[in-house]
Amino acid sequence: MTMQETSGIGAPLDLAPAQPAAAQPTATALPAKPARRLPVQKDWPLWVIVTVQIAILVSFIALWQVAADYGWIDGFFWSKPSAIYATLIKFFTEGDAWVDIGFTFRSTISGFLLGTTIGSLLGLSFWWSRNYAAIVQPYLICFESLPKLALAPLVILVFGMGLASKVAIATALTLVVSTLTTYAGVKALDPDGEKLFYSLGASRWQVFRKLVVPFCLPWVISVLRVNIGLALTGAIVGEFIASQHGLGRAILYAGETYDIALVWVAVLVLSTLAIVMYGAVSWLERILRKGIRQ
């Protein structure tokens, strides 16, 4: 009511009648449209979906077996399901399956934890000083664009053939991602939020603990799933280059000795490990998200 009285003086006067006048003719000039219904897609029940999925998998494996048996494909290069199954059993009963799994698992998890933790802390630390952030920023971007895997041989030289070098590569891969993502969170912080805290007489440390950290937590969490994949990649590449143990080394060794069935077995085990870790991290992410209710 009050605003109308004041705005009567200015430009809005000539705008007001123009709008309805423009809207009217288009509304009446349109031809009558045929009645069109919202397209509806019917969802199949879950058991149908799962059955089809299993059927596809089984027929693929069967086809592979038959093709190798009848010589449609070269069984030496492609191996075949029955041989792979036999090798799998042997790998677990006679081979060092558990040693390899344990080695890859440990280097992945250690690299993941180290990289994510240090990276997140580093990202958060940029909140404390704009100058410090400005100085470090270009180095960070350099480090990000660096093909870190290309430096893996160097890392192996420095850290040796053991677990440490794999952890180092996995850490290097995850750290940058965590740092940059967390820093994105810091940059997204609303300056008015900080104003509110300071108006209540807060210290910088209080602002950091009660505002910055909880605010950035969703960013920290959002990289967990990416990071577990990266950490695994780092660990495997480390094992490819030089290692005594690990699934990566098992794959490389099997390939070099033309034990194609063993290559498939190791890849299968590796995928299973990856899925398990991914599932665990997704679960962790859900728990954490629920914890902070964003």
């Binding site: 609303d190 300071y198 108006s199 209540l200 009660k210 209710r293």
Partner: protein, 263 residues
């Protein structure tokens, strides 16, 4: 003269450096606000109302002039006045109760004690049943209540409210005005209130300061001598209408001046 002002801005001015040069947001502004009063600032958008608040709250160092609280200089000191910013800024990861106790918590009161103090007030002032909800489950009016209680529970004599009801619908706004007046009467605070709504400013206040922009300055201070408690229909009284007309005239005047300047 009158007793020492609760909050006093003495020749406070503000110049911002922008890429386009310097921008005079506030010409020297002098404001003196007496203990226990309800005072409003009205003015066109961009005339420096929020800037005045930021300076009074110590969040912005003025280019010139000084701020006094209870007669003691308080320029650039934080935590001396309660300040509700233009947004409610409730922390989405904290329940309503824990949002409301933020000020006390920052002042070092143990969380449990702070909650004990806040809980009865939350219930008394219309947030019963919402204590343990997260802010995103609240309506706009409820969010504003929570943000206002957070400001009030932060134990300061002066509170600055920057357009607290700006985004509310007319109906809710009226309810919130009554609610705020009740709170003000109970808590005995000195309130400085910014709004774009002239009627709201007059209805709530003892005193209305009308501002103009480019540079931001106070052009007139109008007393509202209508006794309290005020009924809603005071808005129809001749003296109310006279004040309102005067305010609108001043705001329109500034509008013309700015337009001339631009031409």
């Amino acid at each position: 003269m009158a007793p020492v002002a609760k909050l006093r801005l003495d020749q406070v001015s503000m110049t911002f450096k922008t890429p386009a040069g310097t921008f005079r947001a506030l010409a020297p502004v002098t404001l003196s606000i007496t203990q226990g009063r309800f005072v409003s600032l009205i003015g066109p958008s961009g005339c420096g109302k929020s800037t005045i608040f930021n300076i009074a709250a110590g969040l912005l160092q003025p280019s010139g002039g000084r701020v006094f609280i209870d007669g003691a200089e308080a320029t650039g000191t934080i935590g001396r006045v309660g300040y509700m910013l233009q947004k409610d800024l409730l922390l989405p990861w904290r329940k309503v109760l824990d949002n409301v106790v933020l000020g006390m918590e920052i002042q070092g009161l143990p969380l449990r004690r702070a909650r004990e103090r806040a809980l009865p007030l939350l219930r008394r002032y219309g947030l019963a049943g919402f204590e343990y909800l997260y802010p995103n489950a609240l309506s706009g009016g409820m969010r504003q209540r929570a943000a206002l209680l957070r400001t009030l529970l932060f134990d300061t004599d002066v509170i600055l409210l920057d357009e607290p009801f700006g985004a509310l619908d007319a109906q809710t706004k009226l309810q919130m005005q009554e609610w705020l007046l009740a709170l003000w009467a109970d808590f005995n605070k000195t309130v400085v209130f910014v709004t774009h709504d002239v009627e709201e400013a007059i209805y709530l206040s003892d005193e209305v300061h009308v501002m103009a922009s480019r540079p931001g300055r106070v052009i007139e201070t109008i007393a509202v001598p209508i006794p309290r408690p005020r009924q809603r229909h005071v808005t129809l009284l001749p003296e109310f209408i006279t004040i309102k007309e005067r305010c609108l005239e001043l705001l329109a005047l500034d509008h013309n001046a700015a337009a001339d300047e631009a031409a």
